[in-house]
Amino acid sequence: MESAHEHVTWQNWFEAHGPKLLLCARQWTRSLADAEDVVQEAFVRYWRHQRQLPGDPQALLVTSIRRAAVDLARRESRRAVREEKSGGGLEDGGIIFETRPGDDAERRREIEAALRRLPAEQREVLVLKIWNELTFEQIAEALGIPLNTAASRYRYALAALRKELKPVCHG
């Protein structure tokens, strides 16, 4: 992952990494609007104060987003009885992945549905590994779990997806 110093403007950086961060935030929040709030808070803090810090900016931002999501959930829980499993942002039925010309829309929907059915703790590891490109070590640190647990949750998630999804027929 490239450093934030290589980009002149925040716009370039946000354009490249905003989608991954939003996907990451959506699994820890109730709605897309909450996820966008959390991304805004974490990204602005990062760009203003943490950009010069050493290390992988994506890992730093993922940790920051998770904290912001937890803070938001705590604030929300004071207002309403909540603690329905986080993941509402992904489970609200909205589109998770972009539609691109020529792609198989039905297959994409199948994958989205299968992702929604995954246990939250497996899905978060999968999202961080595949779309946020973090290492198991970074995932373990961000989620506060042992490295082996992160790796095994990833394997369980892939196994569950493979079981749910029909194999793609090429040709």
Partner: protein, 177 residues
């Protein structure tokens, strides 16, 4: 990683997550460009002056401070009153020389004494441009600390710890040219 997952991983990798809405981009832009009024998240932190919750924090802090002072005063009072109740007055006779009442070292040690004070800066927020005296441009920075004070009683080894959140606002002159 299991080789058999390679195809599935490649297929997942090919999917691109949905982009943030243009509105989010605008909000981030307006915050980073200093126009925080329109760009702030829909919620506010508990210590923002714009939020009613700050009242709760400050009330709790004041209540904690009063309780602490009351506890320390009561303990000091208890410590000072111990010698009177321990010395039996029946042992005094007319021939005993009258000695002045002194406070022994043991009483001094039976008091809570401040032993540590720390403050941790846990958030720093640039709240954007403000004008001082109407026309002098400046930036307002909000520093958020957690102050912790510790008292210890050397005789009993008991300790009291008091933590309170504190916001510090600094207004720095800025040149906008």
């Amino acid at each position: 990683m299991d080789e058999s997952f390679h195809d599935l991983e490649a297929e997942l990798n090919a999917l691109r997550p949905q982009r943030p809405s243009p509105l989010l981009r605008d909000r981030v832009g307006s915050e980073l460009d200093g126009a925080a009024a329109t760009g702030s998240p829909r919620y506010t932190s508990a210590t923002n002056l714009g939020s009613w919750k700050w009242l709760g924090w400050r009330s709790a802090s004041v209540a904690a401070a009063i309780a602490l002072v009351a506890v320390i005063s009561w303990m000091n009072f208890q410590a000072n009153s111990v010698p009177d109740s321990v010395v039996p007055p029946a042992r005094l006779t007319r021939n005993d020389p009258v000695k002045p009442v002194t406070t022994g070292p043991s009483v001094d040690h039976d008091r809570y004494q401040p032993v540590a004070a720390t403050n941790v800066l846990y958030d720093l927020k640039d709240e954007g441009r403000v004008y001082v005296d109407g026309d002098l441009p400046a930036r307002r920075l909000r520093y958020r600390y957690l102050d912790t004070y510790t008292w210890k009683n050397p005789r009993t080894n008991a300790s009291l710890k008091w933590s309170v959140p504190r916001d510090e606002i600094r207004v720095l002159p800025a040149s906008l040219n």
